[in-house]
């Protein structure tokens, strides 16, 4: 098992890092011994292999990481476990950049590839990768599903937060205002809840990831809140642990916030930014504490937070496209409209690909979906919540994914045995 935690995007909450840990849990449930491997590329001989396992053991190397960090472990069966969100993949061949930038080349080094969704499998197969399997990262079971939800202020009460009460009309003052307005969440929530406990809509995003479409989330919510004032959008930002909230908002979201302010949707404490390190268990409790989980992404390769919300009994508001098409239906979430459009350069610059599409979700789409969520009777919300849990059970929970892994491992071990005998 090779996980490159340092290299993955967004530090502590990076999906890749979390996914890696959960694959380990699933493997251990199967009784498979897992060994963390740093720098698999240095293992080049029988001697080095003996440091990992006995000669008789079948060695399967699961490399979970971003493309630049993927390496094969010689003398093992190599599986690349990657996230991917677009309907194409970079295939630029050797130029003056590192070969690792050629994602097709990198994945071609591996014996097989695991992805989180059928959409990704199809995208890879279209590009000629032969052995691609859908083995999604598992979602932990939520034993408290039927119990009362925890209170959000008890989960992230001490976390720093800043409501959207700053503006960018005065640049000199806005950064200072942002810092001055940063308070502990419990204090902020107390003032908001004084007029009545609001419905909490949660979204967990890396604010630097353009794909997450955070602008539409905010804009749509600000429209919605004009009709449903007793609502709160909590934007839990995923960013490096050592950065301050001011730094994350100012340096990552400034352009998007400026556009909002230009549309005169100024200063509203119905939207609040939270930036804190939360260990996985607490993060799941946060998801569970919300009334709704909101996702407005253009594209997803798995969308772990949505799967987690489904497992935790939190109603999901999300478009049904890319990875979500595998598990979201009109019956287990509150769907949000989306439409396919040609992708813009900004979205895919980092991936060095072109001629791909994305699923556009506008603020109007978000506002409509939010309105639907508010209009649904509690019984219907409960029905969809239970349907969501049923979707997760057996497919995306640890047990379900462990079975998928077991089936892959059995086939691989059979093949390794045949190869060894030959």
């Amino acid at each position: 098992m090779h996980r490159d935690e340092a290299a993955s995007v967004g530090a502590q909450h990076s999906s890749l890092s979390i996914a890696g840990g959960r694959y380990v849990t699933a493997c251990e449930r199967l009784g498979v011994r897992t060994i963390p491997v740093r720098r698999p590329e240095i293992y080049g001989s029988e001697v080095s292999r003996r440091f990992l396992a006995a000669e008789k053991d079948s060695l399967i190397h699961l490399a979970v990481g971003d493309y630049a960090s993927l390496r094969v472990l010689k003398s093992a069966y190599n599986i690349a476990c990657v996230a991917w969100e677009y309907d194409a993949i970079s295939s630029t061949t050797f130029d003056r950049e590192s070969p690792w930038k050629n994602q097709l080349w990198t994945l071609g080094l591996f014996d097989e590839v695991w992805v989180g969704a059928s959409f990704v499998k199809e995208a890879f197969q279209r590009q000629g990768l032969p052995k691609v399997h859908v083995v999604p990262p598992p979602v932990p079971e939520c034993p408290e599903f039927d119990q009362t939800k925890p209170k959000i202020e008890e989960i992230i009460g001490r976390s720093p937060c800043a409501p959207l009460l700053f503006d960018f009309t005065n640049w000199d003052q806005s950064r200072r205002l942002l810092t001055e307005n940063t308070v502990e969440f419990v204090r902020f929530f107390g003032s908001v809840a004084a007029a009545g406990r609001p419905k909490v809509y949660l979204t967990i995003v890396n604010p630097g990831d353009h794909r997450k479409n955070i602008e539409a989330s905010m804009l749509g919510f600000l429209r919605f809140v004009q009709v449903h004032p007793n609502s709160l959008l909590v934007i839990k930002m995923v960013a490096e642990r050592d950065r301050t909230l001011t730094d994350v908002v100012w340096n990552t979201l400034r352009v998007q916030l400026e556009r909002l302010f230009q549309r005169s949707l100024l200063r509203n404490d119905a939207v609040v930014f939270v930036h804190d390190f939360l260990e996985e268990k607490r993060l799941l409790q946060l998801v569970r504490s919300a009334d709704f989980y909101l996702s407005t992404s253009f594209a997803e390769g798995a969308n772990l937070p949505v799967l987690e919300a489904m497992a935790c009994g939190t109603n999901v508001i999300s478009p049904i496209h890319t990875a979500m098409a595998d598990y979201l239906t009109d019956d287990n979430c509150i769907p949000c409209r989306s439409r396919k459009v040609a992708v813009d350069g900004e979205t895919v610059t980092g991936y060095r690909i072109g001629a791909v599409s994305r699923n556009e979700v506008t603020s109007e789409d978000v506002a409509d979906a939010l309105a639907k969520s508010a209009a649904l009777p509690p019984r219907e919300l409960e029905r969809r919540r239970r349907n969501a849990l049923a979707t997760i059970a057996g497919r995306y929970d640890i047990g379900g994914v462990a079975r998928s892994i077991e089936s892959r491992f059995e086939e691989i071990c059979d093949r390794l045995t045949v190869a060894a005998e030959a």
Partner: protein, 368 residues
């Protein structure tokens, strides 16, 4: 007809690739049954000048001469077309110069571990290996590990690759460490040879000494190698505990080691520790073994091929693993000294320049 690229002979010190080139060139100068010519870049160099460079074993005095180029010339396209080009180094090659070409591949560390190299080197090496494979006719790798990497990562055709292990040759010297360093004799010592750079992982040994300073009662630890890059030297020397060990004299830092001093240091060492993460070959390990000096060595890359059954292996990521390997080695030194030294000799004796050059000659003749 064979053209050998000899630019590496312009280096001041003949270690690593210049040393290999020196052995290669010397061998081919003695082959009367082949027409052998020498190039530096696009220019052919007089055989006489190459002989002088080989005799002097430094390019210190020839760099200016080469750049002025009075005794160099271009070679004809017709000659180039029917010749085999032999390249002993990793210099970027964007076009094919000769009808058939052989390249010696030392390692793929720039490609596999770019984090250990300055960004430009990592990018260039990574791309050049991949690109050169589409140009060259045969790749001679200095270890099976490098060959495996070349096949796995660069898609090299196994039939167009082979392995030739570099050799070890010492030049007779009776000077002792104490004479060469102009210092009072020190006790039994452990040698750690390598540049202070991230890939060489020298700091792991310092970490072991911090965890287990007791070993310094038995051995002095000599770290020999230039300061290098990546801030490793500065970090180690900035550590108050290490600084104290250096001041105590139980840890010695010797920044420059020429061949004579290296020989003296090696042959008198109790054992060598070589903690590198990844190597294409690992000459210091072969050199120590050739003198009957046991080695505690990382399992990274090619090193187990070099140390064979004589190596005391450890995981280069784990100080505990290093401590265990050193513990086994020191225990064997105490109770099975003659036996383990004999094993080291046997293993070190496997690496000769003659075998290396013969293997390359075989490849070249096949291409002819």
């Amino acid at each position: 007809m064979i053209f050998i690229e000899a630019t590496a002979l312009l280096e001041v010190r003949f270690t690593g690739i210049p040393q290999l080139t020196w052995h290669l060139v010397q061998y081919w100068l003695e082959q009367s049954d082949h027409e052998v010519r020498f190039i530096m870049g696009n220019l052919e160099i007089d055989r006489e000048d190459i002989e002088t460079l080989v005799r002097h074993r430094t390019g210190r005095y020839y760099r200016v001469w080469y750049h002025n180029g009075p005794r160099s010339r271009t070679f004809s396209a017709a000659d180039a077309k029917r010749a085999v080009g032999l390249y002993p180094h990793t210099r970027p090659m964007r076009e094919k110069q000769f009808g058939r070409e052989v390249r010696i591949i030392h390692d793929l560390t720039g490609l596999l571990t770019p984090e250990f190299h300055p960004a430009e080197v990592a990018r260039d090496e990574g791309n050049d290996y991949a690109y050169e494979l589409s140009v060259i006719d045969h790749a001679v790798c200095v270890s099976q590990a490098t060959r495996d990497d070349l096949i796995r990562y660069c898609g090299a055709d196994p039939a167009k690759t082979s392995v030739a292990y570099p050799g070890v040759r010492w030049f007779d010297s009776h000077a002792t460490v104490y004479e060469l360093l102009n210092t009072a004799p020190f006790d039994r010592y452990v040698l750690i040879l390598g540049t202070f750079e991230p890939r060489k992982n020298i700091d792991l040994v310092f970490l072991m000494l911090k965890n287990n300073p007791k070993i310094l009662e038995e051995f002095t630890f000599c770290f020999c190698g230039p300061v290098g890059w990546g801030g490793i030297y500065e970090r180690c020397m900035g550590d108050p505990d290490i600084s104290q060990l250096v001041h105590s004299g139980r840890v010695r830092i010797i920044p420059f080691v020429d061949e004579r001093l290296k020989y003296a240091l090696m042959k008198e060492a109790s054992f060598l520790i070589y903690p590198s993460f990844l190597e294409g070959f690992g000459s210091p390990v072969a050199e120590a073994l050739s003198l009957g000096v046991p080695v505690a060595v990382s399992f990274g890359g090619s090193l187990p091929e070099v140390a064979g059954e004589a190596g005391y292996y450890f995981d280069p990521h784990s100080v505990e693993s290093l401590e265990k390997a050193v513990g086994r080695l020191t225990s064997d030194l105490a109770y099975r000294n003659a036996e383990i030294r004999a094993a080291a000799y046997r293993q070190g004796g496997k690496f000769t320049w003659l075998a290396f050059n013969d293997a390359i000659r075989e490849v070249v003749e096949e291409l002819q």
